[in-house]
């Protein structure tokens, strides 16, 4: 590592600022958050203002993104659906993060049979194709926003469990952990105060990447009719409803599709930039790049 040790936060900001793609991604994310929070107020019309006489109007001054097959304003629906996507992303990744980190911590810290049992379970979950598992879970719990969140959360748990466990395995051998054990600190305290902070970096990277995939998964579930239920707007569902109209009303599919694309792209760009800064394996590369004139 270079001599002048900066805080992690500072390094992250610096790195993001130098990477134009990351700046763009961050900008889109901020915009998304604003829309997600203020969507219903930003929307020019109500999401369920049905007006069948105005169905399938192309984009115009009155309806910037046109109207859908029930005469609803597509722009309004795209804006309001941002909240659903964010909600699903944050909640499901939150579930995966909490569950995965807890399982990984215990498995890596205690090792032994607990490790074997937990990680083999994770392996089984991991072996399923992501969407198939999510669909199976929704099939059991019944379609809806909440079950979609739970399903996506469960699907992404093993990744977090594995990353956490791998980190814990190396950190638990460190001298400062042994020191903490020797002065009689409890296991829980050691995990919380000494282990967790030292494995946070890869988890942060994984979180931002998982957000992208979670939003994509929600769109896929909604597309299959297993996510949020109509008439509430969701990007995936809008794509599904618009697919019958691709030839005569392109705007039904293009705008929600673009929203999914931009959101996922933004999360990925930011996630990549974060990895450049935080991932220990990538660290040496980026440090080296920095120190060369």
């Amino acid at each position: 590592m270079s001599g002048g040790r900066e805080s992690t936060g500072r390094r992250v900001l610096d790195a993001l600022r130098r990477d134009p793609l990351a700046v763009g991604g961050t900008f889109v994310l901020l915009l998304l958050i604003v829309v997600g929070v203020a969507g219903p107020w930003l929307a020019p019309a109500g999401v369920n203002d049905v007006d069948v006489d105005a169905m399938l109007r192309p984009p115009s001054g009155a309806h910037l993104f046109g109207t859908d097959e029930l005469g609803r304003d597509v722009l309004s629906r795209v804006l309001v659906a941002a909240r659903v996507s964010l909600e699903v992303g944050v909640v499901s990744v939150g579930i995966a993060l909490v569950a995965g980190v807890t399982l990984g911590l215990f498995a890596g810290y205690y090792r032994g049979w607990l490790d074997s049992v937990l990680m083999r379970c994770m392996d089984v979950l991991f072996a399923f194709p992501v969407l198939l598992l999510a669909v199976a879970i929704v099939a059991v719990l019944g379609p809806g926003l909440l079950t979609a969140m739970v399903a996506i959360g469960v699907v992404y748990t093993p990744i977090f469990a594995r990353i956490t466990r791998a980190g814990v395995l190396s950190v638990r051998e460190q001298v400062f952990v042994r020191a903490a054990v020797s002065i009689g600190a409890s296991d829980l305290r050691i995990m919380r105060r000494h282990v967790l902070p030292n494995i946070a970096a890869p988890l942060i990277v994984q979180t931002s990447l998982s957000l992208a995939f979670a939003i994509l998964s929600e769109a896929a579930l909604s597309f299959l009719g297993l996510g949020i239920q109509p008439p509430a707007p969701a990007w995936g569902r809008m794509l599904f409803d618009g697919r019958g109209f691709v030839t005569d009303a392109w705007w039904l599919g293009v705008f929600p599709g673009a929203a999914i694309f931009l959101t996922v792209l933004a999360f990925n760009l930011v996630g990549d930039a974060l990895r450049d800064v935080l991932d220990p394996r990538q660290l040496t590369v980026s440090e080296a790049r920095r120190s060369t004139p």
């Binding site: 006489d53 097959e69 009719g225 239920q229 109509p230 008439p231 030839t247």
Partner: protein, 513 residues
């Protein structure tokens, strides 16, 4: 649920002379380029249908996709003609006893199954007894049948427990009452390789892809011009249309509804429609408060804008109707008490003391128009202060919930009914098999029971009109619309007609170059 009600395409009434303008007015396809007479050259017609049959046993399947195929494979004693009048098929003539309780049918001379074995009265008796004894899908059509016997190979005698004016419709309305071959059924082959006496026979069935029919040379009627028909399963209407345009298929009934208007203006593919006998409706659970109150149900009747619902759900390919029976039927009853009047609806709800009402409206992804319509209904009911929670289920789950009475309301349709008994009895009689919304009105019960056995057609029609008025006034079902049957075919196809009962008949179709 043994009976998928939507799949059951119903029967045609013998004496109901439908004024089917759509069927009679210049529907015959004329191939302008003179290719019509070249039809005898045969060829195989490729038809794209929207899904795969669950099985091909005509007595056990309830899927419309199955009947699209089976219509061309099986025969019934009598069958509906273009005007849905019952005409001879396997039976060439029939007589009725003085007391209306004994019907004697004479079977066609030389009728054979496609495997060459003769079709006799034994087969008719076997087929009907199979339906009745095993309580199969169409058993309810035999409710008044006491016995079926075959005194000689060419004669079938049906004995009834009560006069049944619509017996011919029951015995020939659709291929769900087809005459099957005993050995074919008992070997179990009927599920995938059925043997019938119709114009075509099944030559191959590739699960997930297609069913191949070839001409049945043993057919009793005019020899089909086509060498065969291949039904392919194309779920996506956009793809089906592309296939039709590219010439991969020559016929489909799976057209994207929003494109039908512009397609009808073109001349290739030919797209035609006929008013159907189907109807779509909303039912409210009368076992639940406040829907037990007819005033509340009526208020919802006034809150609905049927024109808007129809436009959204069917892109105008339907006719708004506040009763079940379409205009084309002789039993049509012109009665439309509900105007779209949100203020009146609000007032009625206030008077009924109902506020902050939430309606759990159950729809199914199997029939996407219910999902679309439900969203329009939700918006309309919001205007009168009712919150609609739409529950979209797959059909198996939907039927399950319906049977358990686990719904506030639902939207669905009935396909192919023709006789008024089929339109009203099972749905609105307090003991009706499909009265899942628990409607009960003794006056309606009495009228429906009486009309069922009434042989005087005038009195029968009157009884059904009285019953229909009560049903509409009580808002047992909130009727929405009768959709059109829309089908499209290549210009090379000649001799095909869209039928209002949705039967797909390729027996007299020819394929030009």
């Amino acid at each position: 649920m043994s009976r998928n009600k939507l799949g059951v395409i119903g029967a045609a009434l013998t004496l109901a002379v439908g004024v089917l303008s759509g069927c009679t007015g210049g529907e015959a396809v004329d191939v302008g380029d003179g290719g019509g007479s070249a039809g005898g050259a045969g060829g195989v017609l490729n038809a794209a249908i929207g899904g795969e049959p669950d099985q091909l046993d005509p007595h056990k399947t309830s899927a419309y996709y199955s009947f699209e195929v089976l219509e061309n494979v099986y025969d019934t004693l009598v069958e509906p003609d273009a005007d849905l009048k019952m005409v001879p098929a396997l039976a060439t003539k029939w007589t009725t006893s003085e007391d209306q309780l004994t019907w004697t049918f004479t079977l066609r001379d030389g009728a054979k199954f496609s495997d060459g074995s003769p079709l006799t009265s034994e087969d008719v008796v076997y087929s009907y007894e199979r339906i009745i004894k095993q309580k199969l899908n169409t058993a309810y059509k035999f409710a008044t049948v006491k016995s079926v016997t075959g005194p000689d190979p060419a004669t079938v005698v049906v004995t009834l427990s009560a006069p049944t004016p619509n017996l011919l419709a029951n015995l020939g309305g659709f291929k769900g009452v087809a005459i099957v071959e005993k050995t074919n059924v008992e070997s179990g082959k009927v599920k995938t390789a059925p043997v019938g006496s119709g114009p075509f026979k099944v030559a191959g069935y590739t699960s997930g892809d297609s069913i191949k029919l070839v001409r049945n040379d043993a057919y009793w009627g005019d020899k089909p011009k086509l060498d065969g028909v291949t039904f392919t399963f194309v779920k996506d209407p956009t793809v089906a249309l592309q296939n039709l345009r590219s010439g991969q298929v020559q016929w489909t009934d799976n057209l994207p509804p929003q494109q039908v208007k512009s397609l009808r203006d073109g001349d290739d593919p030919v797209v035609e429609s006929a008013p159907s006998t189907d109807y779509w409706y909303v039912a409210l659970n009368e076992a639940r408060k406040p829907f037990d109150n007819p005033e509340v149900r009526r208020a919802i009747g006034y809150a609905l804008d049927r024109e808007a619902i129809t436009k959204a759900a069917k892109f105008g390919l339907a006719t708004v109707n506040q009763t079940a029976i379409p205009k084309s039927s002789a039993f049509f009853y012109d009665y439309a008490p509900y105007s779209h009047d949100p203020d009146k609806a609000k007032q009625m709800l206030d008077q009924a003391g109902v506020a902050n009402l939430t309606l759990d409206l159950m729809v199914t992804s199997e029939y996407p128009e219910t999902v679309t319509a439900a969203q329009v209904i939700a918006a309309q009911l919001k205007d009168v202060g009712i919150t609609v929670k739409i529950r979209t289920l797959d059909f198996a789950q939907w039927l399950d919930e319906q049977a358990k009475g686990n719904f506030g309301g639902f939207m669905l349709g009935w396909l192919g009914n023709v006789d008024p008994d089929e339109f009203y009895y099972a749905q609105h009689h307090s003991g009706g098999t499909f009265n899942f919304h628990k409607y009960a009105n003794p006056a309606v019960d009495k009228l429906l029971d009486q009309a069922r056995t009434e042989t005087d057609q005038g009195a029968r029609k009157q009884a059904y009109e009285q019953a229909a008025k009560l049903i509409v006034d009580d808002a047992s079902y909130l009727y929405l619309y009768n959709p059109d049957v829309v089908q499209g075919w290549s210009k090379k196809v000649s001799g095909y007609d869209v039928r209002s009962d949705r039967a797909i008949r390729f027996r007299s179709v020819a394929l030009g170059k």
